[in-house]
């Protein structure tokens, strides 16, 4: 099979400071992350010939990924202008198979010969935006249009409502328990305590979890990730750049981006799985590596239950077996067979919308994760998305 991935490496990574109350505004954070990634790749802004972001400067969208306050960050045109980049390709947009579509688009541009070095970034200032917002539910006075009309009039306002439906069905079919969901949250917090940039550092116990506020049954406060301000960037380069770069290149081994179900939240047919099942199968069809080869993973954890769907979708366990797989937390701990969310993930380090996982897994594969380093990590998996939105990447140290 022709695999465009073999022509693509991640040559540089960057991340701004991350926090709940930062002095810097989101454009400054974005440029911090971008300039760090460009320098890390051994490049200068003048070398960048492509830019991709998710979702771009979107303030309103009728599709499956409607932006909320602070969720879209500066658009691609603003970043190109701020850094005076000269590009042969750029793109920003939300109608994709999840957030890693930005990385996949960058890979396609590089493999297709359109670009040599594509800057990819994801920036959010949801902590600031939510603090300023007076209404948690924004209502269009003209009435709800597009796909959201099937959910908002019923008070299905937010992610916990939508994913609560999936979680209830998974529990019903497979006997998944709240204690198993808690194992994801507790593991993230343990790892966050080893990451100085993580926003939630206090100890979290099973008792804390079980007694916390219920948001949308069966999801409680600690099943939900935490909004932050912060930006992450990577540079996707042509493999030729390996010889010229100062650091350790990360090979894109395979991508997964398939969607074989309905492109809908409310009409998704089998709520015991998400599009992770399709993207996960797609990824393994594009590589000779196996799930057992993965040394470290950053599986999407906007909600705890999403990590379960990704564990099954990427075949780290059988269908319906993700609850028992994570129970007790030993398998997914830093010294377990599949260390997960080693930075603390979105649940405890902060909601960087999958790009936090990408940055962390690159650090792990480069051996630069300091006090939370997984020994000799060679292969890593990262994933992004929920419900009908899913994309994933398999990464390898070269």
């Amino acid at each position: 099979m022709h695999r465009f991935e073999e022509r693509c490496i991640i040559s540089g990574i960057g991340q701004s400071e991350v926090g709940r109350r930062l002095e810097k505004r989101v454009m400054a954070l974005t440029l911090d992350a971008c300039l760090e990634a460009i320098a890390d790749a051994g490049l200068q802004p003048k070398d960048i010939d492509g830019v991709v972001s998710w979702p771009g400067a979107v303030s309103r969208a009728e599709g499956l990924a409607p932006p909320g306050p602070g969720s879209s960050g500066p658009g691609v045109h603003a970043v190109i202008d701020a850094l005076r980049l000269n590009t042969t390709w750029h793109y920003g947009g939300p109608e994709t198979p999840g957030m890693f579509a930005a990385v996949i688009n960058a890979c396609l541009a590089v493999a297709g010969g359109l670009c040599r070095h594509v800057l990819v970034y994801r920036a959010l200032n949801e902590a600031t935006a939510w603090r300023m917002a007076t209404e948690r539910v924004s209502v269009d006075p003209q009435g709800v249009v597009g796909t959201m009309q099937w959910m908002l009039p019923y008070g299905a306002f937010s992610g916990p409502n939508w994913m609560g439906l999936w979680a209830t069905r998974h529990m019903h079919e497979f006997g998944t328990t709240r204690e198993q969901l808690a194992a994801i949250a507790l593991n993230a917090r343990r790892n966050a305590r080893l990451n100085p940039k993580a926003v939630l550092q206090s100890e979290l116990t099973m008792e804390d979890y079980l007694s916390s506020t219920m948001i949308s049954d069966p999801l409680c406060l600690y099943d939900c990730d935490i909004a932050v301000d912060g930006a992450t960037a990577v540079v996707v380069s042509t493999r030729d750049h390996v010889t010229g770069m100062p650091g350790i290149p990360i090979q894109i081994e395979a991508v997964g981006s398939a969607l074989h179900g309905r492109a809908s939240w409310d009409q998704w047919l089998d709520m015991t799985e998400t599009a992770a099942a399709h993207a996960g199968s797609h990824l393994w069809s594009r590589t000779d590596l196996q799930p057992a080869d993965v040394d470290v993973a950053g599986l999407y954890d906007g909600f705890t239950v999403l990590t379960l769907f990704w564990l099954e979708g990427l075949r780290f366990c059988g269908r319906g077996e993700s609850g028992p797989f994570v129970e007790g937390g030993a398998r997914i701990a830093l010294d377990g067979e599949l260390p997960l969310a080693t930075s603390g993930g979105q649940l405890s380090a902060g909601r960087l919308h999958a790009f936090g996982h990408l940055h962390e897994v690159c650090l792990q594969l480069r051996g630069q994760a300091n006090g939370r380093q997984v020994p000799n990590a060679q292969v890593g998996a990262v994933s992004a998305g929920a419900g009908p939105l899913a994309s994933c990447l398999l990464l390898r140290r070269t």
Partner: protein
């Protein structure tokens, strides 16, 4: 808070206003008999354009549900049940809706329900109540 209502247009009018006559209107293909929601100009099964809104029985079963307990906006009355209801007419024919008229904790998967309508101008929202089955 101002409760969100749909923007009524030619495509969704039958669904959102059928409740005025207490009818749940779901798109039906006159060619192959397949029903689909939300309505689209072509049948997604046989791709015929002979599709039109058509009343269903309003009977269904709870496929999954969640109890929203979070006051997302000041004045939002909680808790309430958000459910995915599978309609009796066809496997996989579903609506996201609310289960009303019972204690939230009494709702369960596979519970039999029957449609009812809540007027929220300009729409009549199809919601569901527990039924004897």
């Amino acid at each position: 808070m101002a409760w969100p209502v749909p923007d009524i247009n030619d495509d969704n009018e039958a669904f959102w206003t059928g409740g005025r006559e207490r009818r749940l209107m779901i798109s039906l293909c006159e060619e192959c008999g397949y029903r689909t929601h939300p309505p689209t100009p072509r049948c997604p099964s046989c791709f015929s354009d002979r599709v039109a809104p058509n009343p269903v029985s309003g009977r269904g079963r709870v496929y999954s549900f969640t109890i929203n307990r979070r006051e997302w906006s000041p004045g939002l009355e909680v808790p309430y049940v958000i459910a995915v209801v599978e309609l009796a007419e066809q496997p996989g024919l579903r609506l996201l809706s609310n289960i009303v008229g019972c204690v939230a904790e009494d709702v369960s998967i596979d519970m039999d329900v029957q449609v009812d309508f809540v007027e929220r101008p300009p729409a009549f929202l199809p919601v569901f109540r527990r039924s004897a089955g």
